[in-house]
């Protein structure tokens, strides 16, 4: 137990009515102890059932525990108690974004920004969601409901992929490390597409073998995060790999969504080529 947590625990023990339970629950959550955090939050909520911040902190904990329904209910309760609550709006946006619904996340983020104009994280999150929507709209002529499952690649997907490739926003290469489409530039603006594709030749075979050895099924992607950029590899076809590179401000979850959409486009493009 770290010292601040110990101090807050002592404070709460001395005065069970103290609102320090909010900070204690959050500190335990951040420390990676969601179960004790949930216990603290629920005990506090029993005393303050109308406190929106308490529902907000419980929701964050439940989200960490992958209890999406519970987190959603808690954030919705917080919003009902305090309309425009910034934390609850951000939380619901996060859940929708994570569920692959950036369009649904957008109004919640806008509400959060209106409620907390000085929260530096919200403009960045808004920019990410809007950028993702631009990519999604460019890649998919008609958006299908998430529940419909993976969509077969369409001609529009293929054309959108061509547009991405021509902007060097993605790099498509074959199993031998030869560039098929797209490109990549280093920070100095040099074309490094062929070199990067060559270095990654064989990655598909190794990823597939690793997944097979562990009985994990087909591999779906490899993400590499570094302090100045993220790389994500996805297999649009058994003999091809698509690389999407973005700066580190782009969360990996969003990168996965972008790459999956780009892979669908690449699959359509490859099918048309063949």
């Amino acid at each position: 137990m770290t010292d601040p947590i110990r101090a807050m625990t002592a404070e709460l023990a001395a005065d069970p009515r103290s609102l320090v339970f909010l900070d204690l629950a959050e500190a335990l959550r951040v420390r990676g102890q969601p179960e004790p955090a949930a216990k603290v939050a629920r005990t506090g909520l029993a005393r303050y059932p109308e406190l929106a911040d308490a529902h907000d902190v419980l929701a964050r904990i439940l989200a960490d525990l992958d209890d999406v329904a519970g987190a959603r209910a808690a954030w919705e309760r917080a919003l009902a108690l305090a309309p425009g609550h910034a934390g609850a709006s951000k939380g619901l946006a996060f859940l929708l974004f994570r569920a692959g619904d950036p369009r649904g996340a957008l109004p919640y983020l806008e509400a959060a920004q209106a409620a907390a104009p000085h929260d530096a994280g919200i403009p960045a999150a808004l920019a990410r969601v809007r950028a993702l929507l631009e990519v999604a709209e460019g890649l998919t002529a008609v958006e299908a409901p998430a529940a419909a499952g993976p969509q077969p690649p369409s001609r529009a997907d293929g054309e959108a992929f061509e547009a991405l490739a021509s902007r060097e926003a993605v790099l498509l290469f074959d199993a031998q490390g030869q560039r098929l489409a797209g490109g990549m530039r280093d920070p100095a603006g040099r074309d490094v597409g062929d070199a990067v594709a060559a270095h990654l030749a064989g990655v598909s075979r190794e990823a597939a073998r690793t997944a097979r050895l562990l009985d994990l099924g087909a591999w779906q992607g490899v993400a590499a995060e570094s302090r100045d950029g993220h790389l994500l590899l996805v297999p649009p076809a058994p003999d091809a790999v698509l690389l999407v590179a973005r700066d580190p401000s782009v969360p990996v979850g969003r990168l996965v969504l972008e790459a999956e959409q780009a892979a669908r486009g690449a699959r359509a493009w490859l099918e048309r080529l063949r």
Partner: protein, 115 residues
């Protein structure tokens, strides 16, 4: 139990983590492991080290810093890897319903403890 073993055991306490290994990056050999029964550590260790080496070269070729976190996603789970000190690589094997966010935090923390 050694400190290394304790570090690995702590990683495996995250829900859905089937095992963890400490692997030498250069040769892909297992240095220490805490794996569920039936998990083949040695070949997975070699492949994880090789994957990281490829991505390191690709990142260098793209003018990026070396990867600090690696994740292989598959239909029914994932393999996570974090470089640690002394050319070691901490690798965890996750089921489909694992809490990957928590596993990621735990791995990073564990990698920091490997000295």
């Amino acid at each position: 139990m050694t400190a290394l073993q304790a570090t690995l055991e702590r990683v495996t306490r995250v829900r859905g983590i089937r095992g963890a290994m400490l692997v030498h990056e250069g040769d892909g050999l297992v240095v220490a492991e805490a794996l569920a029964e039936g998990v083949e550590g040695a070949p997975v260790a070699a492949l994880a080290a090789s994957l990281l080496a490829r991505l390191r070269r690709a990142a260098a070729g793209a003018g990026l810093a070396p990867p600090e976190f690696l994740q292989l996603r598959a239909e029914r789970g994932a393999v996570l890897a974090v470089p640690a000190a002394d050319e070691l690589l901490l690798v965890a094997i996750a089921d489909r319903d694992a809490n990957l966010g928590l596993a990621r935090l735990e791995l990073r923390e564990a990698a920091g403890r490997v000295r």
